[in-house]
């Protein structure tokens, strides 16, 4: 039955996270970005509201919500600061790998200790983004960039399985192109002992599908913000005697940006609903990610363009959106791998 409305529970979640993001994150986005971290009191408040355990099963003290709730929350947080969103959600997409392969046992063993200790973070890295070698149950190699300043648990996802590493990692801080509030580091593993590993290509694909949707929904928020901020600016900034938005060249651009955001949103929701129905959403999630990344190439630079010289300056948030949307598009395997999975329907 076709229905585009949200139920009351989801509406309440969206309202709550929107208020939290606007009141607690928005005023300090440039501070968090320059400090490469989010204030401790904001982290505590986020955890108090159980937003750091949104999808964790209720039996483990989580909220037990599904993918639709996740993408709705991520859109709202991404619209304010996707870097802060990553810093606050300390399990991040690593949750999906632990859940897919190890279920309650793995979540209890690996995820809960992260949540129970202040500041700890789990990171998910894809084998395709790294140079890892495994020998005698130990991993060595590097990942050029992770959007984190800590890696208390490293979950490595390949096409066919996953490994978990707790010790033996070192981080080298980076400036980072975007998502700086999450921190930015290169990750090195030196004979890091593997404490859990699984083999199952289907589960690997399912975990990656959710991780991509996680990234796509943050990206959706960034794109929405860039599109809406530049739209409002264009309605107030005047040139040649009228708001610049009333020059048809810009009006049409703004309309097309609005449409591009909606196309991403619909595909993200489509994939989330499919996953929540228990169906295989691999192709749909990959398609949503590809759509989001393609839209970011259009919206990111044009958000800056509409503001002209002001857009290029860090006094306005559109340059940040342009950088962050690019960084998010490179995450979780990037667009080319996603396109491969999005075309699986041809087989």
């Amino acid at each position: 039955m076709i229905d585009f409305s949200l139920n009351e529970d989801l509406e309440l979640i969206v309202d709550t996270i929107r208020s939290f993001s606007n009141e607690r994150i928005l005023p300090k986005i440039r501070v968090f970005e320059s400090e490469r971290r989010v204030d401790d009191d904001v982290c505590k408040e986020f955890a108090m509201a159980s937003f750091d355990r949104l999808e964790l099963p209720e039996s483990l003290g989580g909220s037990g919500l599904g993918m639709l709730a996740r993408v709705l929350v991520n859109e709202e947080m991404g619209a304010v600061d996707p870097g802060a969103a990553l810093a606050l959600d300390r399990l991040g997409p690593a949750f999906y790998v632990l859940d897919a392969f190890g279920g309650l046992k793995a979540l209890s063993q690996f995820a809960r200790p992260i949540l129970e200790t202040e500041g700890k973070r789990a990171v998910l890295v894809l084998e395709s983004d790294s140079t890892f070698d495994v020998e005698h149950g130990r991993v060595s190699g590097a990942v050029p960039w992770i959007p984190s300043s800590r890696a208390d648990l490293v979950v490595i996802l390949s096409d066919t399985g996953a490994r978990v590493v707790e010790h033996g990692s070192s981080l080298q801080p980076l400036r980072g192109s975007g998502l700086r509030a999450a921190g930015a580091s290169s990750l090195r593993l030196e004979h890091a002992p593997v404490i859990a590993q699984w083999q199952d290509a289907r589960k690997a694909a399912q975990a990656l599908a959710k991780a991509r949707l996680y990234a796509a929904s943050l990206l959706l928020g960034v794109l929405r913000h860039s599109s809406e901020f530049s739209r409002n600016y264009a309605m107030n900034r005047e040139a040649f005697g009228r708001p610049i938005a009333h020059h048809q060249g810009l009006a049409f651009l703004i309309v097309d940006m609005y449409t591009a955001v909606e196309s991403v949103r619909l595909l993200v929701h489509d994939a989330a609903l499919k996953i929540d129905r228990g169906e295989d959403g691999t192709q749909e999630s990959a398609a949503a990610f590809v759509e989001a990344v393609e839209a970011s190439r259009f919206i990111g630079p044009n958000g800056v363009q509409i503001l002209g010289g002001h857009g290029f300056m860090q006094d306005y948030p559109v340059e940040k959106a342009m950088r962050e949307s690019r960084a998010l598009g490179l995450w979780m395997g990037g667009i080319d791998r996603a396109r491969d999975d999005a075309s699986k329907f041809l087989e």
Partner: protein, 398 residues
């Protein structure tokens, strides 16, 4: 939130598919090959009637009257997409009241329903009606139409010219948009039933189109065309009143425009139907010619599938909003422009996939490439849709 189609509706889609494959596609291809609309006495139209088509949604005098499809916009959009998959031109060529039905149901008097919709209750033969809005001087700027209606005693006298009008020469009657008070601009617009054979109605010319050849697109003229006063849509009972004295006058125009707003999801859905056909044909061609391993081919097909899904959800959302009675101006225009442009892109790239085979002019994709262009023009071009969205989103001045 739920994007799934119900089982009951799936069954109806299956039935539409079966009819489409067996009857609609062959008829559309025949018209395309002949380069002309199917003649009025074509066997297809008789079969369509026997299949249950060609009838009005009006339930007759004393029966339940509804201003829209009783099944809702979502359902009509979904079934329309399936029919357009088999041939968009045939969906317009089909007998029935067609485009003016919604306006007539919403705005006409009971006497007018009986007179003009009555013959479509159980039609003795394929019958058509027609809706004439567009003029040679333009289509979207309705306030600037040149066709005039002049009051003369108990008659209205219409003068002007219309073009690109579906099924006009074969229609029992044409609902003609004309301005009864040009000083008032759009507020002076009225709709009139002009019956076939009325003196002054003539000059019918079947236009030759690039695609969608199955339906008849017609231009015609109105030269001092005299019609009874009770042929003014919705004014039959109040014909003695002057236009400016009646509240219904403005309603008549608004109902026309409202119907166009409501029909945009349907037009967008038909673009998607054509594009889905292009996607399926592309996949078949790629498989048959061992192209599926080529990454450029796969990338194109992935793009088709993804954009098509986004467009489809956009259109469904605009239809769902209409069913919910919620404003959908932005969504209807957005779905229309996005679907039509994506559909054109898909057909264009599908031609590239065919390579020189596409240049032969005998592949279905080549037909779809010609057919689909119209969807970004009819009922408001892509540019007009952006203007409509711009008015809503940034207050773009009129």
């Amino acid at each position: 939130m739920d994007f799934e189609i119900s089982k009951e509706l799936r069954k109806e889609i299956d039935e539409t598919r079966e009819w489409g494959e067996r009857q609609v596609r062959p008829a559309g291809l025949e018209a395309d090959r002949n380069g002309a609309p199917l003649p009025v006495d074509h066997l297809y139209f008789r079969r369509y009637l026997e299949h249950g088509g060609g009838r009005t949604r009006w339930h007759g005098a004393g029966g339940k009257s509804s201003s829209g499809s009783s099944d809702g916009v979502v359902k009509s959009v979904i079934l329309g997409e399936e029919t357009s998959y088999w041939d968009r031109g045939m969906t317009i060529a089909n007998p029935g009241v067609g485009l003016p039905e919604g306006i007539v149901l919403a705005s006409s008097t009971e006497e007018q329903k009986q007179r003009f919709l009555g013959p479509f209750l159980e039609p003795d033969r394929p019958r058509w009606a027609s809706f004439a809005l567009t003029e040679p001087s333009g289509g979207s700027d309705t306030a600037n139409f040149k066709t005039r209606a002049r009051r003369d005693g108990k008659h209205w006298v219409l003068s002007g010219a219309k073009c690109f009008i579906g099924n006009a020469s074969r229609a029992d009657w044409i609902l003609v948009q004309a301005n009864a008070d040009p000083d008032k601009g759009r507020a002076g617009q009225r709709a009139f039933f002009v019956e076939q054979g009325t003196p002054g109605l003539g000059g019918f010319k079947i236009e030759k189109k690039m695609g969608l050849k199955a339906y008849e697109s017609t231009s015609f003229t109105l030269e001092e065309c005299r019609i009874p006063e009770n042929n003014l849509l919705g004014e039959g009972d109040r014909a003695s009143e002057k236009p400016e004295q009646s509240d219904k006058n403005v309603k008549g125009y608004k109902s026309t425009m409202g119907t166009l707003n409501a029909s945009r999801p349907g037009v967008a859905a038909s673009a998607i139907g054509i594009a889905r056909a292009a996607l399926d044909e592309s996949i078949s061609f790629a498989r048959a010619n061992d192209l599926m391993k080529q990454i450029r081919v796969r990338d194109r097909l992935e793009l088709f599938q993804r954009k098509l899904r986004a467009a489809w959800l956009m259109v469904l959302k605009s239809a769902w909003l209409a069913d919910e009675g919620k404003p959908n101006i932005v969504e209807a225009s957005m779905g229309k422009v996005y679907a039509a442009e994506i559909a054109q892109d898909i057909a264009t790239l599908a031609m590239e996939l065919l390579g020189v085979v596409g240049a032969r002019g005998d592949h279905l994709i080549e037909k779809l490439y010609r057919d689909v262009k119209a969807l970004n023009i009819v009922e408001g071009t892509g540019q007009i849709q952006r203007v409509i969205m711009g008015r809503q989103l940034v207050g773009l001045p009129r």
